[in-house]
Structures are given as structure tokens and as C-alpha cells.
Amino acid sequence: MDVPAAGMKGPVQQGCTLIRHLTDEYDDYRHDESRSQGEAQSISFPTTEDEVRAVLRELHPSHTPVTVQGARTGLAAGAVPHGGHVLNLSRMNRCLGLRRDDGGAFVLRLQPGVILSELRKYLKAKAIPASGWDAASLQALGELREAPEQMFPTDPTEASACLGGMAACNASGARSYRYGPMRPHVVSLRLALADGDMLALRRGEVVACGRHLELATELGRRISLDLPGYTMPRAKNASGYYVHEGMDAIDLVIGSDGTLGVITELEVALMPVPPVMWGVSCFFADERQALDATCGLRDGVASAAAIEYFDPASLDILRVQRERSTAFSALPLLADDARCCVYVELHCGDEREALDALDRVGKVLRDAGGSEAATWVARTELDRESLQFFRHAVPESVNMLIDERRRTDPAITKLGSDMSVPDERLHDVMRLYRETLAEAGLESAAWGHIGDNHLHVNVLPRDMDDYRRGKELFGAWAREVTAMGGAVSAEHGVGKLKRDFLKTMYGEQGLRDMARVKLAFDPAGQLGRGNLFDESLLEGGA
């Protein structure tokens, strides 16, 4: 929906003309991609950091709850309002400057509403909108034009996500197998606190002493906090506050689901596009072979940048869609004996290295019982696009299937898991999924980032009874995955939908410790209410 122009409705409060009533014309801003619906009384669309601060200063005295929104592509309802005010940052979408760090890498300064797909376009064309940039940034832009093509490595499936939202939930994607999630690529950020004060954090400048952090705001307020004592899982993780001894303060804010402050600006590090990128889809007769191949690829193919999986049900759904829908008729044709698929993406310095990696992939396949002939190797742009279409068609097809079922029972929604486990528990967790799904008699389709032992197991409810039993099953999986040393949310964040799982993972004390951290930043508990933990933990304030 287009954002209605400012001035269409009168301001809610006299002090800040940016704040509008959240009337029906703003209905889209009551929900996000999770399809959860929330409620709020007012909304604003600031375009600058100063405007964000003005809105926050206006709302602070009344302790009005504030929900921060970016592109609303989140799947955990983190941007769904919970009363109060919606602070929508989609109009803060300018690139602010460019510099080179000590190692020569390009570092781009952005407003939080810059959309990932736009950023990719800018980088591919080497044409970043530079209006208002200073001379040093313009010089760096000139250098970027002469340099090899650059990329930002974090690649969530939803490319319409915005960079601020991606930092807020510590987004990741297929290539996070090699490049990690969003966190390590954020060099600095500016955070507006609930009272409009600012916190500037630059990587390497403020680190914890043990588990104690001391921060100073721009107005001189000192934030002194003891970090929670829980241990982070040994698996890909986007569950709750990230903490460890001696940590960098910036890493606490990244992934905090909009509960500590409002990101008004961030710097992200770019990297050169690898000279050779090949994608290989490997097909297997059964899931056991695919799991063995995954372990083999992890051990034997150093240039793997992504290892993804599509289970038999996913491939069957694609076969049906290819026949039924013209939108999917361009999907590559699957062989009849292809039951499941492992996709590996190779990032290499040159073709010789890529060919060597391809040989290693071939050996892994043979060792796992697969065949080199049952592969698709995408080396051209067209073939890579075809494989990307194939990978993205799986969740899209499942959504279409669920939409069909919702016609008869509108209360049904897809139930998608987002859990991860340590490497050595991959076979165990797959056995858990398969056995419990079979016992419950539930229909499912699983796909996702198997290289990180992180699959999206989707229960496809046929009726409300299936839906209820699916939810129960997810609760049981959260307990089992936690016991395996895994994470209840590996990439979508906790938001409002996975609070119970977070409790399973960190326990009551862990949640209380997190709430204490939040209140040190946001003493009135205004920001991101309902995200991460129940409001009862914030009662009484700091």
C-alpha cells in the first residue's frame, strides 16, 4: 500500500505533526508477513533521525508503547503493533555515505528503510544514489566504480526486507552458511532510545568486561548493565538477546527485535562478488542419502557458500504446481526418481577452483549413494536464475496450497518451524521430525538451510484439529531441540509468535534477565512491546 501523504489527517498530539491517527487507510500497518493482526492508535513515517527523535520525545512522557516497523516482511510478528504507536521507517530509505575501512573494504552508511533488493541493484549497477554526500564519500564512490563488483552477503529469501529490519532480527539466508548472519556485517549503528536520546555504537569501541557493559548516551546518560548468564547455543541462532563474555555492545542491539531502541542509521561492510559462483542441485532417492551428503559437503567442500535442502513432499508439491499453474510452468523438469534435493552453491576465485570443487561435490554424492548424473549445475546467469526460481517456488507453492485450504477453513495458517541444532545432531533432529510427524498423522513439507542444520519444517494443516496438533508438536520440538543444544529460532527472530519457545530455551530466569537488559535501555518498557517476552515481566519498569 502506498503511504498516504502527510497532512491527510490531523495530528493526534499537538507537539509533533508527524504523528497521525491510525485510521483504516493505514490498515496494512496493523500486520506484517506473519499475517498476525495488531492494533495501534497512531502512526508516523519519519524521514530523518531528527524526526524519529521528535516522535519518541513526544510519546515518552505518556509512556506510549512504540512498535518499530521497516518493510514488514518479518515472519514472527515483531513489527505487528501492540497498542500505542507505529513508528514506520520505510521512508528512511536513503544511502548516506560510503567510505573504505583500514583493510580497504567498502563500508556503506544507510538509513534503516533501504530495501535489500534496491541495495543489490545499486551495487550491481555501481550506481548508488549519492545526493547530499560529502566529498570523501563521493571519492569512495568513484573508487567503488573502478573496483570489482561488490555485494552485501546476507540473503534472506525475502529481498524486499529492509536493512534496518534485517539488523533488528539478525536476518540470515542461504549464504549465511558461509558468510554468517547479518550481525558480523554491521560495522556501526545509531540507536534512538525511547526518550529520544541517542546511542552511537561502532564495532570494537565498546566491549563488555566479562558480562558487564557500560554505555554512555549522547546526552550523557549512563547505561550500566549485567548481561544475562545464559549460554548461547552452538547453532545458528536468532533467539533473544545475543550475549557472551567480553562481547561487543553493538552485537546486543543486533537481533534485539526492536526492544532496546530504534535503529536510525547503520553502516554495513560490503565485499567483492566472488569471481565464480556455481549452483549445484543434487537429487537423491531417499532422505538418508541427502543427510549423509550434507555432512560430506560440510567436511569436504570448503568453497560451499550455501547448502540447502528440499524434502520429498516439497518436490512433489512443485511437480503438481508445475502442471497446474502457468506461473510455475518454467520450472525445470524434475526426474521421476528424484525424491529429494540438496543444493550447494560454490563461491570460488576462478574456474579451475570451481571445477575442483565440483569434483569434490561429485565424490561426496557418490559416497552418499547418489549419482553425478542426477545433478543440475548452474554456471550461467540464466541457469542460476532458474535454480533460484526453483528454490523460491517451494515456499510460494506451499503458501498457495494453504490459501486453497483457507477457503474452506479461514482460521487455518501454515505452521513453519525455524529451529536449528549443532552439526552432530542433524540426523537426530531429522529422525525426531519424521517420527513425530508420522505419529501425529500430519501432512508436512520441509526445506531450508540444512548446512546449518536449520530446516523450515512446515505442517500443512487440513483442518483446525491438524493446526492444534501441529502447534503442540512445535512446542515439543522446542524442548527437544533445546536439549540438543539448538535454537528455537535460527533466523526469523522471536517476535511475538515464539515467546513461549524462548522460555523453553532460556527458562524463566533467562527471560527475567533479558527483561532487565531491556529496562536498562528502555526504563518505561515502551519499545517493541510483546516482542521476546510477556509484558508482565516489564511491569513496574526499571
Partner: protein
Amino acid sequence: MRIIVCVKAVPSTTEVKMDPVTNTIVRDGAQSVVNPFDSTALELALRIKDERGAAGEDVRVTVLSMGIPDTERLLRDCIARGADDGLLLSDRAFAGADTLATSYALSCGIRHLGEPDLVICGKMAVDGDTAQIGPEIAGLLDAPCVADVRRLVACDGTSLRAWRGTDAGVELVEAPLPAVMTVAKDAAQLRMPSICGVRASLAAPVEVLDVAGAGADPERCGLAGSPTQVVRSFVPERASGGAWIEGAAAQQAEQLLQIVEGMGL
């Protein structure tokens, strides 16, 4: 059975660079891809190979192109997808060819390879849009031509049967082999290479011939053999504006007539 598939390297982008002096497309090879229509041609050839091969017949698919040396990279990619070998006609003397000189050169290449049962071309190339090469090759080989094939029904080694596009719709035609066939882009989707295919493409033979090697007459090749002379090329100006014709149908027709007469037509 011998099938020859003609493929052309085309720019991967619509932003084509023109040489202001020769008025020809600058083909630096860096961003070239196989013409999408020719990809379809290759897939149809590979399907015939799969089908006839399963019936025990020996079917050989050769990809043929005329282009700069870098085009060999594209021919090897075709081999990775299932073709058996390739022939590249590469010589400065081939450069600047129009469709007549191109089809002559390709027909020399085809004759060099021996008598094929079937030559398959894309209906047209996305950079030239002439749709002339296939029919011209057929003329030079004195073979029947089935143009704009939408669906190949059968090819049994002695004849082919296919649905082809016509101005009125589609028609089912049958032609004896040897024949030339040109194919529509949507007739098939080119398969991807396998790991085995990529490996095979590294070792597969790709013969490279110059004008003399192809047994071609230099006077009929390249610019020298091209009766088409491009006098000037330019980016057309985008027309804007226009006039609205209003009123009843008869009034509109009258106004239209006046405009046409005013243009001296």
C-alpha cells in the same frame, strides 16, 4: 543419425553496443550467451537423441557456430548439456556478415561435417530478429525447411512431424529427412548440465576452422559476401504527443482520411 544445431552468441543484455564506424554490433564476448531460440533448438535435438538412443539408435548431436574465438566457451556449455561435439567457424574474414553470408558460412560448416539428417536452428536471434538463417541454410542445402516449430511430434530418422506456426494459427506438417527445422522459443526448455556433462565438455572435441579450412569462398563470407549494407544506425527518438480523433465513427474516419491525405500518402 546426425543432427546439427546452429547456435549464435548474442549479448546477454538488451543494452547492445554498436560500432559507430562499421554499424555492426560490438561482440566482445564478455557477456555473450547462447541465443535463447537456439537453446530450444538444442533441447529438441537432445530429446530426439534421448528417444532414438533409448531405441538403440546411434544419434550424434553437433553444435555449430560462427563467431569470435570466445564462442568456443558457449559450444562447450552446449556439450555439457548433452551435445557430442562442436564446430566453430572463426576468422576475421567471417566478420560483418549479413544473413546471406552467415548462412553460406554455416552451410560450408555443415558440409564439412558431412551429410546431416537434420539441421535445427532457432527461429531467429534476439539481437537480429531476422528469422532468415534457417530457411537460407535450407535453400543452400537444397533441403526442405519447416519453420517456426511450436511442437515436435515425431522424428524417426526418415521424416519429422511437427506443429508449426502460420499466420492463421498452427498446422501439422511432415517433411522427409534430411531437413532443416527452425524452432520457436517456447517449444522446449533447455536442460541444465550435470556434473558428468561439465566434465565431458572439458575433454570433448571442438573443431575451429577458418575460411580456408571450412572450404568457403572468401568472396561470399563476411562483409565481402554481404549484399546488405547498413548505411547508418541510430537510436530512434521516442515519439511523444499525438492527436485525439473524436466524434462519431463516420466523423473520425473523415478526420483520419484528412490526416493521411495531409501526409501525402
